[in-house]
Symmetry: D2
Subunit: 143 residues, 4 copies
Amino acid sequence: MPSTNKKQILDSDLARLVSCAREARGRAYAPYSHYAVGAAAMGKSGKIFMGCNVENAAFPSGLCAERVAIFKAVSEGEREIIALAVVTANHGSPCGACRQVLSEFARDNAVIVLAATRGSKWKRFTMKEILPDRFGRQDLLSV
Amino acid sequence: MPSTNKKQILDSDLARLVSCAREARGRAYAPYSHYAVGAAAMGKSGKIFMGCNVENAAFPSGLCAERVAIFKAVSEGEREIIALAVVTANHGSPCGACRQVLSEFARDNAVIVLAATRGSKWKRFTMKEILPDRFGRQDLLSV
Amino acid sequence: MPSTNKKQILDSDLARLVSCAREARGRAYAPYSHYAVGAAAMGKSGKIFMGCNVENAAFPSGLCAERVAIFKAVSEGEREIIALAVVTANHGSPCGACRQVLSEFARDNAVIVLAATRGSKWKRFTMKEILPDRFGRQDLLSV
Amino acid sequence: MPSTNKKQILDSDLARLVSCAREARGRAYAPYSHYAVGAAAMGKSGKIFMGCNVENAAFPSGLCAERVAIFKAVSEGEREIIALAVVTANHGSPCGACRQVLSEFARDNAVIVLAATRGSKWKRFTMKEILPDRFGRQDLLSV
């Protein structure tokens, strides 16, 4: 996607996103890792979509919280994510696979916020910072 | 999970599920395969969760409709899926990976219904039929 | 793929496959599940390709032994797998995702053998038995 | 992993890796995307492991070339990857999921080289550059 994004993300939007991600974390199904994760994605429409990690006895068949939130958003009609909040016990970052899924629906300046289960200390990144030189539709279709 | 399931699935429930899966199919994001899929999962609570396929320029990072619906259900608090409807142009079956994800949350007699975009001719399976000798939590934890 | 397969799998071939899968299991990288798995795939050419599970701190980014073996075979030029052996501590079955990957390269009568780390008691399936009504290339391209 | 890596990667090593990745690309199984990719990973031992993309009719069940090469290396006993070359028609970058898999086995200064099918113009990154603030074992185990 091109890199401009008219809608400015407000700090109050991000605070609300983090709050949703904290709530979502409470529904994590993580009996194998015991590492609960919550996520909340804000679509361009302003709507918020919440996700938690959902593990599987066959570990590779589980899914991370971030992707659950993003897939939920897209499946409900959103086609652009402008911000994503992730909540873990220790400010854990999205895995590379989640960054790739976000990338399909996010501009360079989409905001990713990493929070802990409590406190107001966050780490903040843009899409471009967190997945530099990203592979996307243009790469695939330009050959 | 043990194999009995007190709640009997009614034909009317399945018809409603197929109808939801057809609606969800309309939101498919499938610019690479052009193979739109819709799915709807019914939780033990009776609630229905809808999903569509959400593809990615890096093909392995996309997700099938069935899994979107199941992950959505679990992320909203369901811990058991009793029925799943899948709608494609040609009665396509869930891939093995979707069967594995369903397996984590389904008993042997959970019902899978495959429908086309129109018509009332369905294919019908149980969890046990569609993923025989399935790998699950017991295998992992019994060693 | 059509369902006949001229090359008959011999019991001695399967015994050799199980032996290779046992050897491969020793190289498993499974620091998170501690569930080591070995696999060996026999291509139509007669060559054997070995795999083990390779986990990741982000659980969904790991891969099962069966898929490692199959991807290795295809990447070295094989286009048909005629038999697959899997070795775990407890005759664990391939997850659905591994069955799907095998399906792309296996006929209905391809043989899957599940063995434990020792002993000669095996479980034996065909591709068709282990992934009934499978989704494949024909489904995708017929619409 | 800690960030130092005594073994210096030589330009001649990288040239050899790119050459292997070009060769591997010729074995790509990419009937759905028609986007062939080759990869070659060098383990700390100095050995080279080659991979190509292996797609699946159920798109999410396919695998990228980079991961095929890395999983192959680990399954043959390597536990550290010091360099990875990727070859596509247009200097395409590894997807986020491949970066995550590499991350499990690479230090911050591991080298990633992106080349086209011919020519000596490459893009070059380190692990840390291509997956900043990566999620790994320490995050998972520190809670």
